[in-house]
């Protein structure tokens, strides 16, 4: 097994147990205690099981259900041996969980991270990118290109721009037809 092989990590991610897809429930009665899960993941990564002072978002109220479930799924991904006892990534996880996954969750339903090949690869690559890890067999440019081509945020941005450009062109065409049928402005000479 090669370390940080995208294919192997995607395979691991797609085996995520159903339990991780449950909603967040800080009292652990019917769902997942998200804070406990995140802290346990920190402990696995740092290999320090006595610590409690991990960096967790102070705005827990702003995290919606879909985002929490994405975080749950990602903790399964982080349980892969590639990330266990790997303390250098500890301070990268905050950005991954609470910034990047927050943005991506706006466009990806949580079960797609497991059921959809491309979204699973996106989560793997997003995690590696946040942890400043270059995937096995790739260089930095290749890794950046592949993430960019998969990124839901990027895709949305491109679609939005393309939609806006399309809207603008449709508007110009409509205006052209209208203006062609109407008087324009003085002509002063022949052309």
């Amino acid at each position: 097994m090669s370390k940080y092989d995208v294919f192997e990590l995607v395979t691991h991610l797609r085996k995520c147990p159903e339990a991780y897809l449950q909603s967040s429930d800080f009292f652990s009665t019917e769902g997942v205690n998200s804070i406990a899960l995140v802290q346990d993941t920190y402990r696995l990564v740092t290999n320090d099981f006595l610590r409690n002072d991990f960096n967790i978002s102070s705005n827990l109220g702003t995290i919606d259900d879909n985002h929490w479930r994405a975080i749950h799924i990602s903790t399964w991904l982080l349980s892969n041996p590639d990330f266990i006892n790997n303390p250098v990534i500890e301070d990268k996880l905050y950005s991954f969980w609470f910034i990047e996954l927050h943005k991506a969750s706006a466009y990806v339903k949580c079960n797609e991270w497991i059921n959809d090949d491309e979204r699973a690869e996106e989560m793997v690559r997003l995690l590696l990118y946040c942890c400043e890890i270059i995937p096995f067999g790739e260089n930095q440019d290749e890794a950046a290109d592949k993430l960019s081509s998969l990124s839901s945020v990027e895709r949305h941005k491109v679609l939005k721009q393309s939609y806006e450009a399309h809207e603008r062109i449709m508007k110009i065409k409509r205006e052209m037809e209208e203006q062609k049928a109407r008087e324009a402005a003085n002509t002063y000479g022949r052309e």
């Binding site: 110009i172 205006e175 049928a181 109407r182 008087e183 003085n186 002063y188 000479g189």
Partner: protein
Amino acid sequence: MAVSSGPQIALTDEERFPLLDDLSFLNALRQDVFAPKFNFKSGDRLNEAQLSRVHWHKIKYYKEKVFWSAAQMPIWLKDYLHWCVETVPFYQNKGNDLDSFPTISREDIRNFPHLFVSNEANLNELLVYHTSGSTGPKLDVLFDAVSQASWLPQIESILKDFDIAITEGKHTTAIALICAQEKTLTYASLSTYLEGAGILKINLNPSEWNQPDHAVKYLEKYNPQILTGDPIAFMALLDLAPQLNPKAMISSAMKLTKGTKNKLENYFKCPVIDLYSLTECRNIAYATEIGHKIIRPDLYLEVFDEHKNVKLPYGERGELVVTGGNNPFLPLIRYRTGDFCSLKIENGVPFIVGLEARNPILFYTKSNIKVNNIDISNGLSELPLAGFKMHQRKDKTIEFLGYSNEVTAEEVTAFLHTIFKNDIDVMVDIQNISQNNTVEKTLYSSELI
């Protein structure tokens, strides 16, 4: 442009002239007892901000003209290219260096006019001019009131070379565009830029006037300072022998022959200026003894090989290519004009040498009634022809070759019979357009000239 299928009157005078309060002179021009049967209305549409932009354009480019040189491109070019790449969809993904831009053609503008509109252009200011083009199939040219009104400071800068100035004010007619066509839009208007001075577009066709002598009487009464038109219209005006005192006559759209220029200058006692202009970017240059003198420092001219994307050195003859202008709805980068010449620079001013512009061609019915090729282009523009060639033989038979997958020879034959008043023999051939065509540019020729 056929009146029946052309644009419709759609504005109030307040919308035509947002800054002019006193429209009494306009009403006088429209309601004069000798006035033609005007079939249209028009204004310059300039609001305060737009009028300021016309004045700014005048100050920036025409107060002191600074052109480029053989070694130095114009100073505005870098910023202009950057702006085009950033805001004009057609030019996206190109470099910021002029040499990274291939030439573009009339076909590009015809097929994708919407892609040339800058993202910064305000669509509320969009105006469209539908042209048949005297040398090609129809074209929608997009522009705004500012680029249209900039015609005036551009012409003023030419007139300055002749020590002529247009008098401003609301009791004078500044410009009359003279036409001699079967049909065209006609109107009386005003110029906000010229402080309310009158603007006329008239057709000498007798059917446009209440009495045969009214055209002369009307023109003599308002005695326009500047007459504009094409050589055929000016010769038609000369035939009427009006007593006019124009400060200058500006001829464009067709080549002005020396003989015609002399006749007009001898009669009207004023300079007759042969202007080179294109619908796509308005005025470019005017004829002098050593070539056409460029008047627009906001245009950059190059000469390219006719068939290859290769720029030719100064002095070498090829196709004229234009970059620049002040139209946010049609910014040009390396636009092929379809006209041929070489370039030279004299004392810091560029000249177009040996310009091959369009030749004026008159056709004749069997009983010798003249037919203007503009009327033929206008009529044919209604048919989806990609191009056509028309030739009149010595026996007056018309040979017509069109390129289209839709138009039938019968439709063209019917049109030609109408325009030639059922007094002509025609031979029409329509060739289909394939994926790989060598369709020639529209061309009129005659063995009767």
